[in-house]
Symmetry: C2
Subunit: 78 residues, 2 copies
């Protein structure tokens, strides 16, 4: 059985959306961190669901990815 | 000119949605806090946009209000 991310964990929802949107834009974690005004290692830990990210930083990431905040926490991005 | 909440502030978006949904459900701040497992004064400060709420606590509030996390951070709830 392939690895499945548990989307009942809100940190995983955020991580999946950020990874997906960053991939679609073809930008690195470092570039995203730079655009959002956050540290590269912090963005890495968010993408590994390790961080309990605050609304202010979710908003910075949404702005950097040019999506609405709600897009970053959508369970079903389709 | 009537008081307008600045929805470019992500804390205000969250605060407005929580107040609206709590009002629609006819429950008090204390009841919402109880349902979410958070402190009553903390919920009050979230509704006044004073807190930089984390994704884990946003998820607790969404569960308590029986909506998706993305509903709590939607700029346009209509």
């Amino acid at each position: 059985m392939p690895y499945q991310t548990d989307i009942s964990n809100p940190r995983n929802i955020l991580a999946l959306n950020i990874r997906r949107l960053r991939g679609e834009r073809g930008i690195s974690q470092e570039k995203l961190a730079d655009l959002a005004g956050l540290h590269r290692t912090y963005v890495g830990s968010i993408e590994r669901s390790e961080r309990n990210v605050s609304i202010d930083n979710i908003a910075k990431l949404a702005n950097a990815l040019e999506v609405k905040i709600s897009e970053l926490v959508k369970e079903d991005p389709a």
